[in-house]
Point group: C2
Chain length 473, copies 2
Amino acid sequence: MNDPSELSASEARRLIGRGELSPTELLEACISRIEAVNPQINAIVATDLKRARREAKIAENAVLAGNALPPLHGLPIGIKDLNATKGLRTTWGSKLFENHVPTEDDALVARLRAAGGIIVGKTNTPEFGSGTATDNLVYGPTRNPFDLERTSGGSSGGAAAALATNMLPLCQGGDTGGSLRNPATWCGVVGFRSTPGLVPQENRTLNYTHFNVQGPMARSVPDIALMMTGCVGNDNRDPMANPCNPQTFLKIKPANLKNVRVAWTEDFGGVAPLDDGIRGCFKRAIGTLANTFRSLDYHNPDFSGARDCFWTLRCVNYLASHKMRYEKHRDILSKNIIANVKAGEKMSLLDVSIAETQWRKIYRDFEAFFKDIDLLIVPGNATPAFRIEDGIPREINGKKMENYMDASLIRSALTLTGHPVLALPCGYDHLGLPFGVQLVGKRHGDLELLKISMALEAILSTNPDLKRAIPNL
Amino acid sequence: MNDPSELSASEARRLIGRGELSPTELLEACISRIEAVNPQINAIVATDLKRARREAKIAENAVLAGNALPPLHGLPIGIKDLNATKGLRTTWGSKLFENHVPTEDDALVARLRAAGGIIVGKTNTPEFGSGTATDNLVYGPTRNPFDLERTSGGSSGGAAAALATNMLPLCQGGDTGGSLRNPATWCGVVGFRSTPGLVPQENRTLNYTHFNVQGPMARSVPDIALMMTGCVGNDNRDPMANPCNPQTFLKIKPANLKNVRVAWTEDFGGVAPLDDGIRGCFKRAIGTLANTFRSLDYHNPDFSGARDCFWTLRCVNYLASHKMRYEKHRDILSKNIIANVKAGEKMSLLDVSIAETQWRKIYRDFEAFFKDIDLLIVPGNATPAFRIEDGIPREINGKKMENYMDASLIRSALTLTGHPVLALPCGYDHLGLPFGVQLVGKRHGDLELLKISMALEAILSTNPDLKRAIPNL
């Protein structure tokens, strides 16, 4: 057998179930890989190896005893450092919580444990998840495994880099403006932002702002589906919770793409900034898919109001989350947080009502747009992974970006619609860095989107130019 | 047989199904009643009798032909004048739409028609639904059938008065701060605000503001359950839509109240203004329920932030809906609308973020409050129905009310939680006007709440002091 850290989560789980791979063996392989690679990458920032080893041993004994095994039984998992883990340092990437050790697990962490997952450690993130570069004053930057001078993306950048380098087979992440998608495409892995409510969030800041969605990251679509069994659930503390049977995610088979009607757009008709090099990669990828689907048409949803809408509603969230911290501790808060709070302080209730109206229009228009299609394909990133020293993508095609959100509009516009989006690796960009696409499904059509993505991943994997990029570390 | 207009909807539907009552006969009885009573009350403000008669005839033929009949087959229904009805004048109670005749039905109207309902006419409402008194510049006031000098309540006041006087067996209404509940209790009928999303709303102003919920009004709980079969559904245009099988509402049986754990409060621990006379009525009613449930305890949820929270978030909605109208037409807009828009114009995005944070806290606390109970009982109104000339309840226990929302806090606080609330008649108040209670169920526990309400209604109906009040017209 190869090094178990190289196995997919699905394959590892199969072998564990058959007693051909012990959870301990798998965990030790991951720990070895973390020890070998993490010092260069800085993806995993805190671990509880003692507990992980103890749980792996218990998992091993459960196999030997012939017990019924839960879906993630014995699989090592990384948790983003924005999620509380009992007894394991959780900092939110902030100096304010530098030495914080939670006394309870977040509900999602608890669900993943209940599904059999073994929490190995915490993955790095920008402070409070604000940024497309994973970097913070507590732990410093997470480096891109394909070019150590570049960012792994963010905010789930630690997770993406840990997966790309086989340090862990599964990682949890979260996504507001694209934080499950941007690091996935920049590190050549898969991230899945599901329909809001499917993965309930008991501690959301605002009652009905669906911007933040948590979910799985992995190296393949089948592994994403497997991890969903530990993510979905019901929780009355989340008013958007949308119960679903986790078992349904175990039965997913690839879709027949000849039944799938597809639209594609590279930049929503010029609305989202897009680097010309990425445009070229994306169009070449679309070109290779010519006879793959029932139909494949260039078609632009109307996202003309998305930038301002997202920015304003995001400010409501930022003031609710960070205003008090900003008043007391602005000396140690990141620039991104300060910029958002300051912008929000200048706005009025009328601005909010205008943004809410735009949001409604975007939702309605996008639902209508989706009436005659099953899938929308969009680039996963507006630019190649940028240099860590730049902090944000400074310009696109020579045009200066006001802040990191501008270069994220290709993803954040889709946040507004609440449709599920899967970020799928798709070869390399013009700089030789990983490139990926966003696959957008029908709202509440999460299972169908996973089936389509699975079929498409299988096709891309047969194409040397479009298959998942593997770092050479 | 009695006059068919006096039948409950459920009984009328049973007789129609058996061929013992023809839809035409029922419709004509309602029309006669409308002609006799409506001139005094002004509940029904527009009708399409020609179409209604044609549809009743078709419904009659369907019975004779032995066709399968939908759940509301042949039942006359009133639609609130805030909902578009194809070919039937729809004004939103506003001079701005005084002569508006829609070319399409609202989705809810279409669902009610598809379920077999026969739309007879439109019921009166304050302009754009803003008010606890049904009165407007297009049609004038709807009078309370128990005292013609007093209001029928609002905003679904036309619906409540039409039901109380047997003009129609079923009416649709809508509720933001209590508009299905306040007129129901003041007119001695039943109104049901379900969990947001169960009755989808394709044309909501804001994407995720669940304040407005549309639903059924009737003279009894079984009739409410019956009408729900035509209200629930799925509609992707509503991001909060929460699909449910309409058939489940046909199978509801009364709950065994000995299994039901109940909390009661008359004013959320002094947070909601409450007239002392109403307080007395409510406490007497609670007193009679002493051995009815598994438990019945005085217990206050924390709604300390509800007033400001609701007012601010409501302003976001009002600016989104009415800002342009206010700019152009403030000379013909109602005082309530103008006051809300003006208040919103003075607020900041920070105010919104504070209100959103309060909303989240209220939701979380209320969910925790409900963990150990199945039902919360609260008065349906803070005051007796007030005089039409007063426009709003001017004072409560000698304390001046700033605006009509203050006297509505007993209902609007519950709007914030998103829990289902049924307004149930409960005898007469100290002035001899109808009194009622709000029965609050678990979130998404709509079916269970209807079962509990049905059992409680049956008990109250055996008590001469607490049974539904009937107007003497």
